[in-house]
């Protein structure tokens, strides 16, 4: 171990379960499609290129079970291809339309090429199996995949029913094992939401570490000797790694961070909004509501509405420069930390994966440059996964981390405020009913068992942190409201039918085909032995 310090890049991938077979096309399903085209495929391409070029690296990625379920779903796979075909057709028309505008003409070719390549890689390359592609990287060793909660439940606000908290974790671990064929070493607590005591649930499933926000460790007790630059061991024996705010900010912040650079692509100028409605309408959602297509022609330019055309080559050079800057700053950081620490520090830099490519278009390139530069340009820092650090330094300080999240202001207010607090009355009641029903039916018949399993699915889907988040932020609120309402109503109807011994097989079957995530789910996760 010659390196002075370590850097752990952690990408959290997540999307809520959005699947609507009852509609021919559905606006919110595009979240998945955009993420595949703009984030998952580009990341896979970069990582595979690094592996082919024999550049050693370690990167950590968490995968939520809802995303895994959607990536593996044949209906959504088919719809993704249909979506992609539409965009390829649109990009082809754009090549025609922009003939007299060379900067846009060139970009139209650029997008057409990207989209056709994406299609070819998705079909011929991966046979529509992106999970398999990530699994291959994990088996090769560059990727450390880690688990997360079943439906991204924000655990501190589910605390009133510990069995429900445990079930979010249990189903998350199960989904991970189905996808990756191994037990997870690490766990991503949704929104970094940590409640003291929840580490014991992680421990029960063999998890070795999780991630918290900086103040989760800094405000832990006793005081952490190394701040966030070494893990702490929770009372259960699970390690907690704390987020480094300095490195996070340089990527996160829209103003001060790299993604706001004037040369980078402007997210908010999309032809889905900009062009003649009749022309783009066939490529929008069925109702004609304007939305993103991913075809964007402008660079950020500055604080002006007079945007200049995007130049991918200049943007790429800037991504390389920013990667060099990021690495230089980490080397400086490690140099400083070594003056006050008697061991090599670990800098934990977690980000939402969908930030890369979708929001920050040049993010995947930046990441590749960073990994290459870390390999050849310096000797100070080594890229590792958190589990690697635990092998280097098995002895760490014991403390109890503090309740915390990485949401605005650091606690729970994003998911608990006047816009969304009403949901907890329902979500908590459902959890109590689920636990009671699971105990009440230890030996169910086949129909009862299916009902109980579907109740568990509906409960988990209602618990997703995405709905209160959307209600708070104010876009797609109607959809979030409807989702809560649907899952609560479905659960209660199943529950009432079970209690009254009036089970409706046909309706149950339709629910099983609509909310079809987690086919392995066993409701007895709500009746754990010893509880």
């Amino acid at each position: 171990m010659t390196r002075q310090g370590f850097l752990a890049l952690v990408l959290h991938t997540h999307l809520p379960f959005v699947r609507h077979p009852e509609h021919e096309s559905f606006l919110e399903e595009r979240w998945l499609f955009e993420a595949i085209t703009e984030t998952y495929l580009p990341l896979l391409e970069r990582f595979e290129r690094l592996v082919n070029d024999r550049v050693p690296f370690r990167i950590t990625m968490s995968f939520t079970p809802t995303l895994l379920a959607m990536l593996a779903d044949p209906l959504l796979q088919a719809r993704y291809l249909r979506h992609l075909d539409g965009l390829i057709e649109l990009a082809g028309k754009e090549i025609e339309r922009t003939r007299w505008q060379p900067p846009f003409h060139r970009l139209a070719y650029f997008y057409h090429h990207r989209l056709t390549t994406a299609r070819q890689r998705y079909t011929d390359g991966y046979r529509q199996d992106l999970i398999g592609a990530f699994r291959a990287l994990a088996e090769q060793g560059s990727l450390e995949p880690i688990a997360s909660c079943a439906t991204h439940g924000f655990l501190p606000l589910l605390e009133i029913n510990p069995t429900a908290v445990r079930a979010q974790i249990a189903v998350g671990v199960q989904a991970f094992e189905h996808a990756f064929g191994r037990r997870p070493e690490g766990f991503w607590l949704p929104e970094c939401g940590y409640q003291p005591g929840h580490d014991a649930f992680l421990k029960a499933f063999g998890i070795r570490y999780f991630l918290t926000d900086a103040h989760g460790l800094l405000f832990g007790s006793p005081r952490p000797k190394y701040g966030v630059y070494a893990p702490a061991i929770c009372p259960s024996g699970v390690a907690a790694f704390g987020r480094d705010l300095e490195s996070s900010k340089s990527v996160w912040s829209a103003e001060e961070g790299y993604p706001g650079d004037f040369l980078y692509r402007e997210f908010y100028r999309d032809i889905g909004y900009d062009l003649d409605h009749d022309y783009v309408r066939p490529y929008l959602n069925g109702d004609g509501q304007r939305t993103n297509t991913g075809i964007k022609y402008y660079r950020i330019t500055g604080k002006t509405d007079d945007k200049q055309p995007y130049d991918p080559d200049r943007a790429l050079e800037q991504a390389a420069a920013h990667a060099g800057n990021f690495l230089f700053n980490r080397e400086q950081q490690v140099g400083f930390l070594r003056t006050v620490m008697d061991r090599a520090p670990i800098i934990i830099s977690p980000y939402d994966a969908e930030l890369f490519g979708h929001w920050w278009f040049e993010g995947p390139e930046w990441l590749e440059f960073l990994i290459r530069k870390a390999h050849v340009d310096q000797q100070t820092i080594e890229l590792i996964a958190p589990s690697d650090y635990l092998r280097h330094y098995p002895v760490n300080q014991r403390l109890v981390p503090s309740l915390s999240s990485w949401g605005y202001n650091g606690y729970s207010e994003v998911w608990l405020n006047g816009a969304n607090d009403w949901i907890y009355r329902h979500v908590h009641t459902l959890a109590d009913r689920m636990v009671a029903a699971a105990r009440q039916f230890p030996q169910p018949n086949a129909l009862q068992r299916r009902t109980l399993n579907q109740m568990a699915r509906e409960l988990l889907l209602a618990q997703a942190s995405d709905w209160p988040f959307i209600l708070k932020t104010g876009t797609h609120t109607g959809y979030a409201y409807r989702r809560i309402q649907d899952h609560v109503a479905r659960f209660n109807r199943l529950h009432d039918g079970l209690q009254a011994q009036r089970l409706e097989d046909g309706w149950l079957t339709s629910l099983e085909t609509t909310d079809n995530c987690f086919p392995f789910l066993d409701y007895r996760v709500y009746a754990p032995s010893g509880a």
Partner: protein
């Protein structure tokens, strides 16, 4: 979706170091039974209150709480944000009827919650002691540069506003520019019809022809004068015809006066004037 549930239940949740949140459901019978215990003279001035107990390290109600405060409720409230202003303390809340004489009739009791710390712990582990300099440096490295306000909330808020929620995809199309924004672009649609088997080109680029012989192309129109050469050729290449409309786009900074002279007549080469 039901507005509430027919149970007696008071649930307490933590929002942050300074605020907790309570919601409740009460069965009508429960309140009726409690009212039944009142003497007639206790009815005037009767209020429903939340009684917020600080039960830190106390086994309440077996042991008394350190202190409590009452929050009078309005009739329709079924939830309340409680400003405890007390990080790292444990709370339990009772909902009940309070008479003018001070008698409290319990309707429901909550779970216990502990607010998080809003700053570093005072507890230090002897085996893991950092020097004061090292501690300052390590905390400063993370939070110090961002510590601007005097209250812990202010600097913590500053430090943490970079964080957000994990649903990057749900970002809408929010426009970053304030004020009256205005964009104007011009597309030109060239369309026509010919023999369905003919080969059509526009600006030397082939254009698909539909089964009924119609074709069209949309072109983003730049400023200046463009000559659009459209050719149709028989499949055997023997016969070709061409038409070449000329289009001028001129962008004026402000609306020009309409011409007072006689309206422009189409010139022989069929030019069209468009002012965008």
């Amino acid at each position: 979706m039901p507005t509430g549930y027919d149970v007696d239940r008071l649930v307490l949740m933590v929002r942050d170091p300074w605020w907790i949140f309570a919601y409740w459901d009460l069965r009508q019978d429960t309140e009726r039974a409690a009212r039944g215990q009142l003497r007639p003279e206790e009815v005037p001035g009767l209020r429903t209150v939340l009684r917020v107990h600080d039960v830190t390290d106390r086994d309440f109600p077996g042991e008394p709480s350190w202190q409590w405060m009452d929050i009078p409720l309005s009739g329709l409230a079924n939830n309340w944000y409680i400003h405890t202003n007390a990080p790292n303390r444990t709370f339990q809340v009772d909902i009940g009827l309070l008479t003018a004489g001070g008698r409290f009739l319990l309707l429901a009791r909550s779970n216990r919650v502990t607010t998080p710390r809003a700053g570093p712990s005072a507890v230090i582990d002897e085996e893991w002691v950092a020097s004061d300099e090292a501690f300052e440096a390590l905390f400063g490295a993370t939070l110090g540069a961002l510590r601007v306000g005097s209250s812990p909330g202010a600097w913590l808020g500053q430090a943490l506003t970079g964080g957000w929620s994990s649903l990057a995809l749900a970002r809408g199309s929010g426009r970053a520019v304030k004020g009256l924004w205005f964009r104007l672009d011009t597309d030109l649609i060239v369309y026509g019809a010919t023999d369905p088997k003919a080969v059509v080109t526009i600006q030397d680029q082939p254009v698909p022809v539909r089964k009924d012989g119609t074709f069209d192309v949309r072109l983003a129109l730049p400023e200046g004068t463009q000559t659009i050469t459209v050719t149709v050729t028989t499949p055997d290449g023997r016969q070709t015809r061409a038409l070449a409309p000329v289009v001028t786009l001129r962008r004026a900074e402000r609306p020009e006066r309409p011409p007072t002279s006689p309206p422009a007549t189409p010139s022989p080469e069929s030019s069209q004037g468009i002012v965008g």
